[in-house]
């Protein structure tokens, strides 16, 4: 998924992959790096030293966009929203870095039938709403159905993912509970199996890993009589371990315990603190200073993402006295994202010019403007380390500074040296400096480069535009949704993403039938060693043969937490994990 905002677009990619995999029986293979536990029960695995009680603080600048699960599409709301709602299936963290797919509302991980076109899940009993009533299959079906409001005339529920509509059958023309209150969502049905409820999905096409899609927030329950439409964002009726005590958007939010939540039914959430206190609209520099000094709100606080620049500096600089303190209070490690430069092959058509860019780029200099080593580790692959497709190859030069001489050699072969434009968002001075660094390194090789700031409100739109305004060069970052190369390469390079008006995530505008075929074949490969080889070949094709991108570095995340807080890193949320956070000494 794209790093800075949202969109778990990768799930769509599974559609292609899964067409081939209908005959594959064990779902475990389809997932690749992720374990699966069909019999998980609560309580959730707690971090060592977990103690119940206390209040966890969150201090930040931006608020959660939406707490309404039908409107949640970014990692922040997914991370904290699941304190209020649970999805059909979810990813469990064991406190030691292992990720496992388990049933959350479901008691199993689903059973496919009909070649993967029908999926049935058994539901857990004992999950209760904050008023004590049990969560039923009907509630879940209603919650899923709310996604269809996106297709209706009313625009009550905007912002969520749209995967249910793309995947589930809907023969009656259901358009959400407000527009079509009497119609039924045909692809979702509730039943019973013995004493437990079951939910069955009829899909439009076979999907071998539908049970991964059901980790999406759309697959959460909403109770019809508590649904307040647009205002549900501020008044989510909870069946998770916490409920909303008060919420003022962009100001503050307080969550307190839902006394009807039963830890034995929940394999994901530990829910150690008694209260969660979020204060928004705070100045970043101030907040950062609070964490450095470990004072005030920061003592019992966790951060949701890296704050400002001097955090890595203090980590890396020669401030010996401070370093061990920070070691105790932060997560500082790799995350699943890779930052790379995308070259628009439809506009920068000369392969030699693209290769020259690859050679001239001074990745080290660019990385220094955004934090140096703490921003990430140099890489030559789009896949993060450990995922199929990753290899320690060279793009052009072994030095991260680039190779100006080689770049010049390619430039000599370039037919027309036309000017290329690099676009960047004007939101921060760092982006500006990055652009200037890029400009200076490419200019050294004789490449004609112009840098163009784009207003931050328009930036993502411009990245996708086709036509005269389409950018030539741009920086992009991408991370898997779960550890599988099929969520990296196909969503970024499939030719059907490139349209005449917009492109989806295919920022390099690659329309290459050979590549399409290579990716489909690799996704179908069940033998892990052969799959790895196939994805590495895909990687080399993209980077070396058609020179559509320049991989730069695998990102690192730096997260603060207060000295009185214990937390673990959640790679999918790329943040401190809210489900397992705890206060070390509740009396403080």
């Amino acid at each position: 998924m794209k790093r800075t905002r949202t969109a778990i677009v990768a799930v769509l990619a599974l559609g292609t992959a899964s067409l081939i995999m209908t005959s594959v029986a064990p779902v475990a293979n389809a997932a690749g790096g992720l374990a699966i536990n069909a019999k998980a029960v609560g309580p959730a695995p707690a971090l060592a030293g977990t103690v119940k009680g206390g209040t966890v603080n969150y201090t930040g600048k931006s608020d959660v966009n939406h707490l309404d699960p039908s409107r949640c599409y970014d990692t922040f709301c997914m991370n904290i929203g699941r304190l209020l709602w649970r999805t059909l299936t979810a990813i469990q963290l064991d406190g030691k870095g292992k990720q496992t797919l388990v049933g959350d509302i479901a008691s199993d991980v689903g059973t496919p039938s009909n070649g993967g076109k029908t999926w049935t899940f058994k539901l857990r009993s004992g999950i209760k709403w904050q008023d004590g009533q049990p969560v039923t299959c009907a509630d879940l079906k209603y919650g899923i159905g709310r996604t269809w409001d996106q297709d209706a005339d009313s625009v009550v529920l905007t912002g969520g993912t749209s995967y249910p509509q793309a995947t589930i059958e809907n023969t009656a023309g259901f358009k959400g509970p407000y527009a079509t209150p009497t119609k039924d969502l045909s692809g979702v049905s509730c039943g019973t199996s013995g004493s437990v409820e079951t939910i069955t999905f009829k899909l439009l096409t076979a999907a071998g890993d539908f049970n991964f899609q059901t980790t999406m927030p759309n697959y959460a329950a909403v109770r019809k009589d508590k649904d307040t439409g647009v205002n549900y964002d501020n008044q989510v009726f909870s069946y998770g371990p916490y409920q909303i005590q008060s919420r003022i958007k962009k100001d503050k939010t307080i969550l307190v315990r839902n006394t009807y939540w039963d830890a034995k039914t929940d394999p994901i959430r530990v829910a150690a603190p008694d209260k969660i206190d979020m204060l928004l609209g705070q100045d970043s520099v101030n907040t950062n200073n609070l964490y450095i000094e470990d004072t005030g709100r920061a003592v019992n606080g966790i951060a949701n993402g890296p704050l400002t620049q001097n955090v890595p500096l203090i980590y890396d600089s020669e401030m010996d006295a401070l370093q061990p303190l920070f070691e105790k209070r932060g997560y500082y490690g790799k995350n699943p994202y890779v930052t790379w430069l995308a070259i628009n092959v439809q506009k920068v058509t000369d392969l030699n010019l693209r290769k020259a860019i690859q050679c001239a780029l001074n990745v080290e200099g660019m990385r220094a403007t955004v934090g140096g080593k703490s921003a990430g580790d140099f890489t030559s692959s789009l896949a993060p380390e450990g995922i199929a497709g990753y290899s320690k190859s060279t793009v052009c030069s072994t030095s991260p500074k680039g190779d100006v001489a080689k770049a010049k050699e390619y430039m000599a072969k370039v037919k027309t040296n036309k000017e290329v434009t690099f676009v960047y968002s004007n939101a921060t001075k760092d982006a500006e400096n990055e652009a200037l660094s890029l400009q200076s390194s490419l200019t050294k090789a004789g490449i004609k480069i112009k840098i163009k700031p784009i207003d931050s409100t328009e930036y993502y739109t411009i990245l996708e535009q086709q036509g005269a305004d389409a950018p030539d060069l741009m920086l992009y970052a991408w991370g898997y949704d779960w550890p599988n190369a099929s969520t990296i390469y196909p969503p970024l390079f499939r030719s059907d993403l490139v349209g005449t008006d917009v492109v989806g995530e295919n920022k390099s505008r690659v329309t290459d039938k050979t590549l399409d075929a290579m990716m489909t074949k690799a996704a179908a490969e069940t033998n892990p060693a052969k799959a790895n080889a196939a994805w590495v070949a895909v990687e080399k094709y993209i980077v070396n043969t058609i020179a559509a991108v320049v991989p730069m570095y695998q990102d690192k995340t730096l997260l603060w937490r207060g000295s009185n807080v214990g937390a673990q890193y959640n790679p999918i949320a790329n943040s401190n994990d809210w489900a397992s956070v705890y206060i070390k000494n509740p009396k403080l």
Partner: protein, 331 residues
């Protein structure tokens, strides 16, 4: 006097209307898309069109404008004919593109913070500044005067964006001298309100206080040297009496004028002070609105700010007219 008051108020109202019209026109002409802010990438074209329809952005400009103005007086219903018409109570300033909240509600919620900040800080700098200026003028040439003058010069040259977070770093974070600034309603607890606002008040007041000290000093020196004061003194009035009554009264009029205008402008939000201390006032609201191109919020905050500036001008003019009859006649 009354006639002047009526005339002047009428002018102010007309001005406000012109401001509303121009603001609406200026910003609604910007091609910002509410759909982008509301749902970003995951929206289909159809949904985006629906959002624009719900916000009534797809209507022609004149229709939008008339509905907007009407909405200031009468409850406005968005998309009256559709399945779910949305009610916006008068005075209706629209709904935020980003959060969907009623703009008037947001302004109401944030205004007390800004008012507290503005009133507290301005009182501090007025009283402090005038006192310092007076002391300085009365002890002209002596050490006290020189010291106050130097400080006033230095502090009025300080840059506001430097002070806030440095003060926060040293007084709040590092040395815990003052608790973290935060807004607590004075109706809840006056002591907490004052403690929470103390640092923002002082930060905002410091620079202006220096300026007002300089102003007062200059004004008083001018009046002290004026003929009628000299005459009063020569008439045998005690030195103290003379100083206080005459000199201050002469100097105070321009200071009150400037103070009124400064305060009026501040009611629209002290952008930098609020954002440095994380206060949720109108200033930070307008900053967020501009960065995100949230048009209804931008329009709302500009109108809010303009309203107070116009009001302040009106009040100051009234005071001036009451104190100085010449004004009423020549205007």
């Amino acid at each position: 006097m009354f006639k002047y008051f009526i005339k002047r108020t009428a002018t102010a109202v007309v001005l406000l209307f012109v401001v509303v019209f121009v603001t609406f026109g200026l910003f609604m002409a910007v091609p910002a898309d509410p759909a982008k802010l509301s749902c970003g990438k995951t929206c289909s074209e159809e949904t985006k069109a629906n959002i624009r329809h719900a916000m009534e952005i797809d209507l022609p400009f004149t229709t939008q404008y008339t509905r907007f103005v009407k909405g200031l007086f009468v409850d406005r219903y968005y998309n009256k004919g559709s399945q779910q018409p949305r009610k916006c109570e008068a005075p209706c300033l629209g709904f935020s593109f980003r959060t969907d909240e009623n703009v008037t509600d947001v302004l109401q919620r944030r205004a007390p913070t800004t008012f507290s900040l503005a009133l507290g800080a301005s009182l501090i700098w007025l009283i402090g500044g005038v006192l310092l200026g007076m002391v300085s003028a009365l002890r002209r040439g002596k050490t006290v005067d020189k010291v106050v003058q130097s400080f006033a010069l230095f502090f009025s040259s300080l840059q506001i964006y430097l002070i806030g977070w440095v003060v926060s770093l040293y007084f709040v974070i590092k040395h815990h001298i003052i608790p973290t600034p935060t807004y607590v309603s004075p109706f809840e607890s006056v002591s907490k309100w004052a403690a929470g606002m103390l640092l923002p008040w002082l930060t905002l007041a410091l620079i202006s206080m220096a300026g007002y000290a300089r102003l007062t000093r200059a004004g008083m020196l001018e009046t002290l040297s004026e003929d009628y004061v000299r005459t009063a003194r020569s008439n045998g009035l005690k030195k103290g009496r003379v100083q206080f009554k005459h000199a201050l009264r002469g100097a105070i009029t321009p200071i009150i004028t400037i103070f009124g205008l400064d305060l009026g402008a501040l009611m629209g939000g002290a952008v930098i002070t609020e954002s440095t201390f994380g206060l949720k006032g109108i200033g930070t609201l307008s900053l967020e609105a501009v960065y995100e191109l949230d048009l209804p919020l931008i329009i709302g905050t500009v109108i809010f700010g303009a309203f107070f500036i116009i009001m302040a001008n009106l009040i100051v003019d009234m005071l001036y007219a009451a104190l100085d009859p010449k004004v009423r006649i020549t205007k």
